[in-house]
Symmetry: C2
Subunit: 228 residues, 2 copies
């Protein structure tokens, strides 16, 4: 099969999805959305052979391989707990993104990097949708994207987000909060629910349901969860 | 924080978890169990500082970096849809595994590799538990590990598993099937449910529930699901 990731071609009908990866990114925070969008693309391609509905790129800050390059001459990203990922692109060479996904994890180092915050701000200004998973909300907040908006994050970090960014209306007990061009999700696995919601927004409910079924994932469609 | 992955030390109380990664492995099939075991280890370390309850390794067939090596001089694994992962170890240098996880994805090429099937068979013979996710069940079956046993796989592949391996009692509509030292799960996200079950078996129910809560994951504890 084709590789919708780094090997995607410039098809006009393709949505370009960029997932930011960084040292200490939470594995499921980026892998969940990655699975959702690439599975959705695969389901879509069953009906429309040759289509690449979603082209998903992992994007890191610096020093990564050029897109389409076969050679791996890169500093990898070491996700939380040690998993190492070779990003598809860096800040200088990724395509224009329709959707920017900012996962969480241990984000302290990222919050202290002006080039990262600036890239998120600039990329979000061009993207149709910018979405965070878990503590990725802190990075969106730092970039000024959440001021005056409703947002959510991991249940353990709700009070910290409120304390650091009082201009945000932080919500709890919800899988995601959709503010149009800005969407935030709760912790870790909630990024899967949110990504399915984004598939629904971009390509319709039928494909989102089919993707959830393919992933055997019990999609929490309503935004409220009981127990966290 | 410490890196329970490749940087784990030889602590006696540590369970060594190996996750097989290969070209066209389904991303969530390996990332889900990775997240579960490393999050469980992190939760445990909050109570027992310095502990490494689960040490998780990605293991590929050949050509990977030695464990603990800092330098990356490796052929990476290209997961399904293009995500590239740098494994922690290969067949020749991983530690003795307590748990072997075999994810699915496009497994045709793996089924045709005698060294892979042989490694799974040999490793399973030493491990306490060998578990598959999704179409990883075909690899366990090929290694002879499922003959005469109950097992499950992705709903789309149930009939193919029955046809190829008639000695297996293939079950549907279940998140996982536990046959003691052999455990198989349904498709993709069901690997998360199964891994939480393995955490419960190895370290108790409380840690499994705490891990699910940390991941904000709605653990399907009973083995039967309604709709797939």
């Amino acid at each position: 099969m084709s590789a919708p990731g780094a090997a995607c071609g410039p098809i006009a009908s393709t949505f370009h999805i960029g997932i930011y990866v960084f040292n200490d990114v939470e594995v499921l925070d980026f892998a969940g959305p990655y699975e959702v969008f690439t599975t959705a693309a695969r389901m879509h391609a069953r009906d429309v052979p040759g289509s690449e509905l979603f082209c998903v790129y992992s994007v890191s800050e610096v020093g990564q391989v050029p897109i389409l390059a076969e050679r791996e001459r890169t500093a990898s990203v070491r996700a939380r707990a040690g998993l190492r990922v070779l990003p598809d692109a860096d800040f200088t060479n990724h395509p224009t993104l329709d959707v920017l996904i900012v996962p969480g994890g241990v984000v302290d180092a990222e919050l202290a990097k002006p080039p990262v915050i600036d890239w998120i701000r600039r990329t979000a200004a061009q993207a149709k949708i910018t979405a965070s998973v878990c503590t990725g909300a802190f990075l969106l907040a730092k970039a000024g994207l959440l001021a005056g908006k409703r947002a959510t994050t991991h249940w353990e970090d709700v009070s910290a987000l409120r304390a650091m960014f009082p201009a945000i209306s932080v919500e709890q007990n919800t899988r995601w909060v959709d503010e149009g061009n800005i969407v935030t999700s709760a912790g870790i696995s909630a990024g899967i629910d949110m990504s399915l919601h984004l598939v629904e927004r971009l390509a319709g409910r039928e494909l989102a349901l089919r993707t959830a079924r393919q992933m055997e994932f019990d999609w929490t469609e309503n935004q409220h969860q009981a127990s966290f």
